[in-house]
Every structure is written in C-alpha cells, then in structure tokens.
C-alpha cells in the first residue's frame, strides 16, 4: 500500500492551470522528490495534498484512504504534516512553544481541564515541552528554545518549521524547499536530518531546487512543468532526461546533479 498517492489532481487560478491532472504514488518510507521550474505547481500540489486548497479534480489517498478535500487538521490527525515555502511561523511565540503547538494532537484537548489547570494538564505541558526540546536538539536550535521566534534568522526558521512538523509525529511529511537559504554546509545537515527522518519510517515528499540534495537522497523524483507531469524516475533517469535538462536543470544544473550522484 502506498503511503500517499494522487490521481489526476488539478486546480486552476484565474485561467492558470497551476496543477493539471497530476498523478503519482509514494511508497512507504520513501524519499520522494518533486522538482520543476518556478511556477510548475509544486507548492500548489502540496497545498492540494495537505488540504490548504480544495482540488477541482482528482483524488488524494493517504495510507489507502481517500482524503480528497479533507481539512488540514483532519489530515494532520491522519499523519500528514508539512512545512511551508513561505514561512508560516508563530512569530509571537517562543521557539519551544512553536514546536509544542506541533504536539497539539497528542495532547488532551478539553477546555475545562485547561481552565482549571488540572494536574494532568500540567504534566502534559511538561511532557510537550520535553518533546519539543528534544526535537530542537535534533535540528540544532536547542540553545534558542526560549527566544521569541521573531528573533531568529531566516535559515533557522526554516529548520524550526521542520521541528514543528516532526512534533506531530507524521507518517507522511511534506517539505517545501527546506534548504532554501542555507549554504552548502547547512544543506548537508538538512540532508542528514531528512535521511534520519526517513529511516524512522516516515515517508518524505520533498520539493527542492538544490540538485545536490535532491539527487543524493531521493528514491524517486517526479518532475512537473507548467502544472503537468514531465517525467518520473530515479535520479539517474531524471537528470539525464533532455527535457528536464532543457526546462529545468540547464547545463550547469545537470553537471551539478551528476556530480552529486558520484
């Protein structure tokens, strides 16, 4: 059974077919990358899968169940989580609290216990914070746990989003350009992190323009162009596909991709 699959999914914005009848399927535990030129529809595809947009056509299946047009919070409950290309940070909260919000579904949610701050709630708060700190440790932000998120530089905020998404203990994780704004070194760290995540059995769907990263860690790569599927294959197949080179990689990018694979 595939962890995530989409069939003939599509959406249009004022005449622009942002995503046009795209289908693919991601196996459990895979790292599945989606690449394509700017405006190809990658982020939109994520928005369709995660329920931020309602698809105009097609279906989304998560762990075998049809979740088309389900609300994001429902999808989260079913194990789907994501990060955003345009940062969506809780800027008025601390770094640790940002991650703690990610624990929301794991927490007891009755309003009355919360109002009276029952011991169970206190215990739970403590537990959530511990979990959050553990995740922050993992992405290297532990020393900023109690800083206001607004005070973090761009690159660190990208990582904070990953920690928050992980806090939901997802089965499928969508990452939208996690390495944007990171230098080669920092990208390597992210690469390790993604691999680790995948090793724990989480299915990762990755959108990224850093070809070194993509080529090295993807089990499969799906290429979009103008909202449609251009091709799908493993790294080797994709980077040598002349259409992909022409529309997306460019000669330099192709070289880079080739070097990454060595």
């Amino acid at each position: 059974m595939s962890a995530l699959s989409v069939q003939d999914i599509g959406i249009t914005f004022g005449g622009v077919k942002a995503v046009d009848s795209v289908s693919f399927s991601v196996e459990d535990g895979q790292i599945f990358s989606i690449i394509g030129p700017n405006g190809a529809g990658k982020t939109t595809l994520f928005n369709l899968i995660s329920g931020v947009y309602v698809p105009m056509s097609g279906r989304v299946t998560l762990q075998g169940q049809d979740v088309t047009a389900a609300a994001p919070n429902r999808l989260a409950a079913r194990g789907l989580s994501r990060t955003f290309q345009n940062l969506q940070i809780f800027f008025r909260m601390t770094v640790a609290e940002n991650v703690m919000v990610g624990r929301h579904l794991k927490e007891e949610r009755g309003v009355f216990p919360h109002l009276f701050s029952l011991p169970s709630v206190i215990r739970q708060n403590r537990h959530s914070r511990k979990e959050a700190l553990r995740l922050l440790e993992r992405i290297g932000l532990a020393d900023r746990a109690d800083d206001l998120a607004a005070n973090l530089p761009y690159g660190e905020l990208k990582r904070l989003e990953i920690a928050r998404a992980l806090a939901t203990e997802p089965k499928v994780l969508l990452l939208d350009e996690p390495a944007a704004g990171c230098n080669a070194r920092e990208t390597e760290n992210i690469e390790h992190m993604i691999k680790e995540i995948a090793e724990t059995g989480v299915t990762v769907v990755l959108v990224e323009h850093d070809m070194r990263l993509v080529m090295r860690i993807s089990d499969r790569i799906h290429v979009l162009d103008y909202g449609r599927t251009l091709t799908e294959g493993n790294a080797e197949e994709v980077r040598t596909n002349p259409e992909v080179v022409k529309a997306y990689l460019g000669t330099h990018g192709a070289e880079e991709a080739a070097r990454a694979q060595d």
Binding site: N47, N86, Q88
Partner: protein, 290 residues
C-alpha cells in the same frame, strides 16, 4: 411608486453621506492599514469650521475652502504628532490612537466652536425638486454629485498615478516600500491630508441636510466604517456602493418594515453579505501564498 421613489431619494441622500465618510476611511486604510476612527471628526470639522468662519463675515465659498484647509492641517498634525511617532506599532495600537484623537478633537471642537447644532444654507436653495411624485432636495443632488466626483478622482489617483500606487505599496509592505525609495511617512501623511479633505468636503456638502455639531463624528464614523467594509475595504468604488446601499437599506427598511429596526436591517444585510462574500462586495480576496 411615488413612495418607492421617495424612499430611494432618501436612501441615496443618506447613503451618499456614508459613502463619503467611507471614502475617507478607504484612503488612509490604503496607505497604512489603519482604520482611522477620527475620520468622522474631519467631517465635523468641515461643517463646523465653515459655519464659524462664515459667521465672521467671510463669503461662504471662501469659508468652505478654508475649512477644508483647516481639516487638512488637522489631518497632517494628527499624522505628524500621533501616527508617525508610533510608526511600526500594531494596527490595533494605531487604531486606539485614532480613537484617542477622535475624543480629543471632539472635545477641542466643543471649546473652539460650541456645543450647539449648526447648519449651512443649501447651495442652491431648498425648493424640493419633484420627480415622479417624490421630492428631492437640491442639496441631495449636490451630495450625490460630490460623492461621484470624489470617487472618480480618487479612483483615478489610486490606479492611474504612481503616487497612488506608492500609497497602496506602503500599506502592502512598508519595508519594501522604503526599499524602493518611497518616503513612506510622506505618503501616509499625504493620505491623512487627502482623507481629511474628503471628510471636510463631505461635511460641507451634508451640513445643510443633516446639520452638524461637535460630536456628529462618532456615528458617521460608525456608519462610514460599516459602509467601507461592506463595499470591501480599500476599494473606492466599494466605499461608494457600500454607502449607498446602506443608505437605501435604512430608507427602505424604515419605509417598508420598521423604522425602529432600520439600522438592524442594514446590519443584518451586511452580515448576510459578508457571510457569502467575506471581503465585501468589491474587496479583493487577498492572495497570500504559503
């Protein structure tokens, strides 16, 4: 039929007043995301200053022009002394500042002018014009025409001039506006001055019909705000349409349903429309990508 027309005339007259106030809101909002609750005070200043300047023997047109200038100065001062120093504060903080300003201006007006109601002579007499059995005051036509002219000018300014775009840009992203070289404080100041002028013109146009007093601003602000939101915040056309519709709803509500609940009728319709059009009639849906 005559009855219907009479209600319609009444609604359009009142609606035009709301529309003009809403236009003032729109302009400042477009420049700074601030809902200026002192907008009603500009309307009051327009009317009251004209009355009091005319009272010392100045010809009415001159008095009216001076009143517009007075309002613009007040608008600029408001920006300089209260809005600009709080630059960078939350929108709500700025809104509370405008509420403070409105209390302040109202009180100041009660000293500088007085606490009585005042009126101005209608521009072209007050012999009602009969149309299909219904009567409309010539002054109502002035108000409608004034609203029409101002909305056209404002629309052209916002969408046809680079300065107009700079105003929109400042509200959309102040940091970016500064980076492209927009003098944001000048632009916002300008919007306050223009908005004050629009308010003052509204005040002058409507005083012969609605009368004015130091504290008429509060309710005008309330209705104008509702009109601006109903039409879609930021849209000059929306402000006008929103204002006119609210005016018509009140008039028809009072005429056909219940005069006690006419305001309620207007608000129920607003709520109903917002339910289906969450950004008002002409408000653009914000596209914010994630």
């Amino acid at each position: 039929m005559a009855e219907f027309l009479q209600f319609a005339f009444s609604g359009l007259t009142v609606g035009a007043v709301y529309a003009l106030v809403a236009l003032g809101f729109t302009l400042i909002y477009n420049a700074s995301d601030v809902v200026n609750f002192a907008q009603g005070e500009f309307v009051m200043i327009g009317g009251m200053a004209t009355v009091f300047i005319a009272a010392v023997g100045v010809p009415l047109p001159v008095a009216a022009l001076s009143a517009i200038v007075v309002a613009m100065i007040v608008g600029l001062l408001l920006h300089r002394l209260a809005i600009e120093p709080a630059r960078g504060a939350d929108a709500v903080t700025l809104i509370i500042i405008t509420i403070g300003a409105s209390i302040f201006l109202r009180s100041a007006a009660s000293f500088i002018f007085d606490k009585q109601f005042h009126t101005l002579p209608p521009f072209t007499g007050d012999t009602p014009i009969l149309f299909g059995g219904a009567a409309i005051l010539p002054q109502s036509l002035w108000v409608l025409a004034g609203g029409f002219v101002i909305v056209i000018l404002l629309w052209a300014f916002m969408s046809r001039t680079i300065l107009g775009k700079a105003i929109l840009a400042t509200a959309a992203n102040r940091l970016a506006a500064r980076l492209v070289g927009i003098n944001t404080s000048y632009v916002v100041g300008l919007s306050f001055a223009l908005s004050a002028a629009i308010g003052a013109i509204a005040g002058i146009l409507v005083t012969p019909i609605t009368l004015t007093r130091y504290d008429v601003g509060t309710l005008l602000a309330l209705k104008g705000f509702a009109a601006a939101m109903f039409g879609g915040m930021g849209s000059p056309i929306g402000a006008i349409v929103g204002g006119l519709i609210i005016g018509l709803l009140e008039a028809f509500g009072a005429g056909y349903i219940s005069s006690e609940y006419k305001d309620a009728i207007a608000f129920i319709v607003i709520l109903g429309v917002l339910f289906f059009m969450p950004t008002g009639l002409f408000g653009r849906k914000s596209v914010e990508r994630v």
